[in-house]
């Protein structure tokens, strides 16, 4: 008797729950489409001919797949007067990012080690001052930096850009390593000191071997920041030393000739590939860097 009374209600609740699950997955799926749509449109557009772009649908798959736009984007598209594609600028970005990431990460590791484990009077104030430096809008240093780079003979050069990225990256890299090293008990350093190990010895044989995760996080963070940088790139480079973001913008906004949307899209994907690849391969570390970098001091 009671069974009969309860079961319709129960099955109703069950259907309700299943309907809710469906709704949930539908919503999640729709949002996934929203985030994927621009990437999808970029890829399909880059594989279409200009003719098909003019007559076809934005979200339609290419009727005929062609890689011509990719070839042009890589080695033939015009950025202003030069028509070498994005290839030289891609390598410029590599030449900027690799040394800038390595140097700023190394400096950050050493600084973080000092601030977290070798506290001396004033170390906290120094750290706070360095931390505040992370949050300035870079517009406030653009003008003097342009002058100093000029005085140093580095205006418009790749070493000048490396230098700039290292200087304004130190704050974040120090923060990352400091927050990581601060969780290592101070007794470890004390014990090592008793055993006669010095400052560098302790860093080299105790801290560095423990640091792999934070090195990965920092390298990914710095690489993403520097590869994607536009402000410093556009302010402190000249024809020939521009990073890829600047070249991409020049290609897209160049007003000469026919607008080749497929080439624009191919160039944009090429510019995005390295950081996307890092994200896909090491997404976990990428997210950790983002959340650590988000002022969580």
């Amino acid at each position: 008797m009671t069974d009969l009374a309860i079961s319709p209600a129960r099955s109703q609740r069950r259907t309700g729950r299943i309907a809710l699950r469906w709704l949930l997955y539908t919503m999640l799926g729709l949002f996934a489409l929203y985030y994927l749509m621009p990437l999808f449109v970029m890829i399909t557009t880059s594989l279409k001919s200009l003719e098909e772009i003019r007559t076809g649908d934005l979200v339609a798959l290419p009727r005929e797949v062609t890689f011509d736009a990719w070839k042009t984007a890589w080695s033939g598209a015009c950025t202003g007067v030069q028509c070498d594609g994005v290839r030289p600028y891609f390598w410029n970005s590599v030449l900027i990012a690799v040394p800038a990431v390595s140097i700023s990460t190394l400096l950050g590791a050493m600084n973080g080690y000092v601030v977290a484990q070798w506290r001396f009077r004033g170390a906290n104030i120094i750290f706070s001052l360095m931390l505040f430096g992370c949050f300035i809008p870079f517009q406030v240093v653009l003008l003097p930096m342009a002058r100093i780079l000029g005085l140093m003979g580095l205006a418009g050069t790749i070493p000048g850009l490396i230098f700039t990225h290292v200087i304004y990256g130190i704050g974040f890299t120090t923060l990352f390593f400091r927050n990581y090293y601060v969780t290592i008990p101070a007794e470890l350093v004390k014990a090592a000191k008793v055993d006669g190990a010095g400052f560098f010895r302790i860093f080299w044989s105790i801290f560095l071997p423990l640091s792999l995760p934070i090195i990965v996080v920092t390298v990914i963070w710095q690489f993403t920041q520097i590869w994607n940088d536009f402000l410093f790139g556009v302010s402190f480079s000249q024809a020939g030393t521009q990073p890829i973001t600047v070249a991409l913008n020049n290609i897209v906004n160049s007003t000469t000739g026919v607008k080749e949307y497929n080439v624009d899209m191919a160039a944009a994907i090429i510019a995005a590939l390295p950081t996307l690849l890092v994200y896909v391969v090491a997404g976990k570390y990428f997210i950790r860097g983002l959340t650590a970098g988000s002022v969580k001091g």
Binding site: A32, P38, Y113, F135, I167, G171
Partner: protein, 290 residues
């Protein structure tokens, strides 16, 4: 000697970075502040003349536009990105089976350069060939969606692209926050028969106040520094319709040759950032030292 060296080694290691920060951050801020008080045009002058550059700024319709745009863009961008991020986080928190894959999809725009994002959306929003043309092609001949070239609406295209880029990141922040709420309390509430939506509105969300604050700070900071996205998407146009303080500063510094205006606009940007970030950092650092 070696003992002295050993004792002072930590300071000597930190010194170069600290000196660099002193010069290249604080010294440079000082330089910019100084120059913002002079009559500098193409070349910097160093005789202090008072607040004339700031007065010029206040009288400039273009700067006025840039500040209005920052306000509209910032308010919409922050509110919608936070609402969307929270919604996505709550949806993903319902024991979703494919959570990892979905999270990856929601967050990947954050790995892209704003220039790439701008380029993509510029193409999608292109009236002749993008969404507008597509919907017209479906038979809705009167459909118009020309925001990107419409001076009154162009600023909203910046909002759309910026939200697309950053909302996944806000979701990641909130998701981490949802996961850190004490599971016991939630279980107790469920045992008491409190409906799930009530558990969210009265227990979980209020306990995430610090995360709302972090998300707000990060987004506000992003909004004030927005530069690349505007350059790539609209170039500040049509006209000056999508100028932001950052693009105004850049135009003054590098194409108009008006260093005084560039310096004073940069100083205002910095003050806005500091008004938001400093109280937060200060309380964070204090909380940590206590």
């Amino acid at each position: 000697m070696t003992k002295w060296l050993e004792e002072h080694m930590p300071k000597m290691v930190l010194a170069p970075s600290f000196i660099a920060v002193l010069i290249f951050v604080y010294g440079f801020i000082g330089w910019t502040a100084w120059v913002s008080l002079t009559r500098s045009r193409l070349l910097p002058k160093y005789e202090i003349e008072g607040l004339i550059q700031y007065e010029r700024l206040m009288r400039s319709p273009r700067w006025d536009m840039a500040m209005d745009n920052l306000f509209v863009f910032g308010a919409l961008f922050i509110t919608v990105a936070m609402a969307l991020g929270l919604l996505l986080a709550i949806l993903l928190d319902q024991k979703v089976r494919t959570e990892g894959a979905i999270r990856t999809i929601y967050l990947y725009p954050m790995a892209l350069s704003m220039i790439v994002t701008g380029t993509a959306w510029k193409w999608i929003l292109n009236p002749g060939l993008g969404i507008e043309a597509m919907v017209k092609g479906w038979g809705f001949e009167s459909f118009t969606f020309d925001w990107v070239v419409n001076p009154d609406m162009a600023i909203y295209t910046i909002v759309i692209a910026a939200i697309w880029q950053s909302s996944g990141f806000v979701m990641a922040l909130f998701l981490a926050g949802l996961r850190s709420v004490d599971a016991e309390i939630i279980k107790a509430a469920q045992v008491d028969g409190i409906p799930t939506w009530r558990v969210y509105t009265s227990i979980i969300i209020p306990s995430m106040a610090p995360i709302f604050l972090s998300a707000f700070i990060v987004l506000a900071h992003l909004a004030i520094k927005s530069f690349d996205l505007v350059i790539a998407l609209t170039g500040g146009g049509p006209g000056y319709a999508t100028d932001l303080p950052a693009t105004y500063m850049y135009a003054m510094a590098f194409s108009r040759g008006d260093i005084g205006q560039a310096a004073s606009s940069a100083m205002i940007m910095m003050m806005v950032v500091f008004a938001i970030v400093v109280p937060y950092l200060y309380s964070e650092l204090r909380a940590k030292n206590d």
